[in-house]
Amino acid sequence: MIELMNVRKVFNAGNPSEFSALNSVNLHIAENQVTVLKGPSGSGKTTLLSIVGCMSRPSAGRVNLQGREITSLPERFLTDIRRKTFGFIFQQPNLIKGISVLENVMLPAYPLGEKRSQLKIKAMKGLSELNIANKAASKVEWLSGGEAQRASIVRALINDPHIIIADEPTAHLDSKLSYRFMEIIEKFKAEGKTVIITSHDPLVYESSMVDRVVNLRDGQIER
């Protein structure tokens, strides 16, 4: 489903601070599987994830998504693909302060111009599935860490994406909430979604529902 060929990512090319974060990465991510990217800090996990998720372009190489070459697409199309195909769960909840949880959750759907009443129903359903429906009207700064994390998961799912991308989702969760998170992942898998997670948390990569663990080191995949 996702295919990376000879992908390279160079930061600050041409500067003395030039840094090559990814070096000829070849990777195939299968549909409806849970793939974990593992590796030491600075090995390029987040960088790889952002390329897979159409958030940034590789410096060289090709990325195919569902058989379609996406690296050369203009920004508008990338945004469109990103919005419809991917749901992102960031290391930080990255919620927007000052507005309600419900509004935060609906934010990715705004550019699609869906009817508000329908969108609201969808958002409330998502919130109640993660047991935070009672916080819908609260401001995000009042949420606990775990609640914020769950709100950001609901936001990632609002456009019903095929592929879920999570960067260190358990970094700020205790083990109970981490288990809870893995249960949510299991549910995604049961719904036929593809999941890509970066993590150095054993609780994640040793979990039974993980299909494949990819080891990254210094921007390269370890065999």
Binding site: T79, F88, F90, N94, I99, Y110, P111, G113, R155
Partner: protein, 411 residues
């Protein structure tokens, strides 16, 4: 289409809640912006209205004024010339005028003394025209109004400005020092109505007899003449004929007077232009500041929005609505406040600045006069640059990679 509308609604809603989130900052912004629009609009309304007022008054001015010139200076006009002018073809009527200035050292102010038509006994043609002048269909303000008060020898009718300055009113007495040192006491017969205060504030109406006594002018002279011409297109021709017959006379046609008055009012408006340009400058600085600033919080938010699937154009639309909401609110509030300020409170804020111009500051009750051109000018001076200024930094925000959201640490 419905999607597009729905999308705009979402963006507007989000913009509104964004604005409310930074209440203090945005309220300050709005207040400053409104203040600038208020100053700009006030100066504009004031200058336009004052010019309009002046034009209205001066439309009723005589077509030709004839002065006598001696050594390049305005001299007393011999009444003997009147017949010569009357005989020029095309001249409908000739009026003589008596007017001058009197310096009152008590309040260091200059008064304009004028003998109203028909009040000079020495006048050859005792034609009693009313002060009200009807030229054209346009509403013309009379140069002064007698308010029913009767002007007779030994009395004066004074302008509002003088009445205020000297704290005097009807039936009070006012002493004058005549040309020969004698003190003349005049009774105030009445105060001019405030209708055309712009011109009449420092005006004093006096009979011809008293005028001559005060300034020592004999009965064979007047200050100047006004000439009415049969056919308005012949004004220039008549003027040149006067010049030919009376080489030491100087005919001044109304257009020239209008120009002179225009420059006087422009000068008065000059003060306003200073205020105006200061406000424009403040606005430019303010807009520039806005344009160059995109706070870390805003950058972060834009990063998040882009990461969750907002396009650069969506973000720009959001900023556009933000700029439009703030600037339109400020624009309408500022304009309405300025309208009230200029036309209902007599430019109370500007009064101190204008007062320095003369101790006989007229208390303006300007006729509300606002046209579309003024409003459009204001709009293009304020709303447009501001809205553009809010969008500009977003082009730079377009360079914020969506993946920056993945690298935010801490809250």
């Amino acid at each position: 289409m419905t999607h597009w509308i729905e999308k705009q609604r979402y963006i507007i809603d989000f913009t509104l809640s964004s604005l409310l989130r930074r209440k203090v900052k945005n309220f300050g912004l709005l207040a400053l912006y409104t203040l600038i629009v208020f100053i700009l609009a006030s100066t504009m309304f004031f200058t336009y209205a004052i010019k309009k007022e002046a034009a209205l008054i001066l439309n009723g001015a005589p077509e030709i004024v004839v002065q006598k010139i001696v050594a390049g200076r305005h001299d007393l006009f011999p009444l003997a010339y009147v017949e010569t002018i009357k005989n020029i073809r095309g001249v409908a009527s000739v009026e003589s005028r008596l007017w001058g200035y009197y310096y009152d050292s008590l309040v260091s102010a200059n008064y304009t003394l004028l003998t109203p038509p028909g009040n000079d006994a020495a006048k050859p043609s005792a034609k009693t025209t009313v002060v009200e002048n009807d030229s054209g269909g346009e509403a013309v303000k009379p140069l002064f109004e007698l308010n029913g008060a009767k002007l007779e020898p030994g009395t004066l009718i004074i302008g509002n400005g003088i009445a205020r300055l000297r704290a005097i009113g009807k039936d009070d007495y006012m002493p004058f020092r005549a040309f020969d040192g004698k003190v003349l006491n005049f009774r105030i017969a009445g105060v001019l109505s405030s209708q055309s205060e712009l011109v009449s504030s420092d005006l004093m109406l006096i009979t011809g007899e008293d005028f001559r006594k005060l300034f020592g002018i004999d009965n064979s002279h007047v200050t100047d003449l006004t000439v009415v011409v049969n056919n308005p297109s012949e004004v220039a021709m008549v003027a040149s004929k006067i010049k030919k017959h009376l080489p030491d006379a100087r005919p001044i046609i109304r257009d020239e007077i209008l120009r002179t008055y225009d420059s006087i009012f422009n000068w008065r408006g000059g003060m306003m232009i200073v205020i105006f340009s200061a406000a424009v400058l403040a606005f430019v600085i303010f807009a520039w500041d806005k344009a160059s600033g995109l706070s870390a919080g805003e950058r972060r938010e834009i990063g998040i929005l882009k990461a969750v699937g907002w396009e650069t154009s969506d973000v720009i639309q959001m900023k556009f609505w933000e700029g439009a909401m703030i600037s339109l609110t400020a624009f309408f509030t500022g304009v309405i406040l300025a309208y009230i300020h200029v036309f209902f409170t007599g430019s109370i804020v500007f009064e101190p600045a204008l007062k320095g111009w003369s101790s006989l500051y007229p208390n303006f009750e300007l006729t509300p006069f606002v046209n579309l051109e003024q409003l459009t000018t204001l709009f293009f001076l304020t709303v447009v640059p501001y809205t553009v200024a809010t969008i500009v930094p977003i082009w730079r925000a377009a360079t914020i990679d969506p993946d920056s959201a993945m690298r935010f640490t801490g809250e």
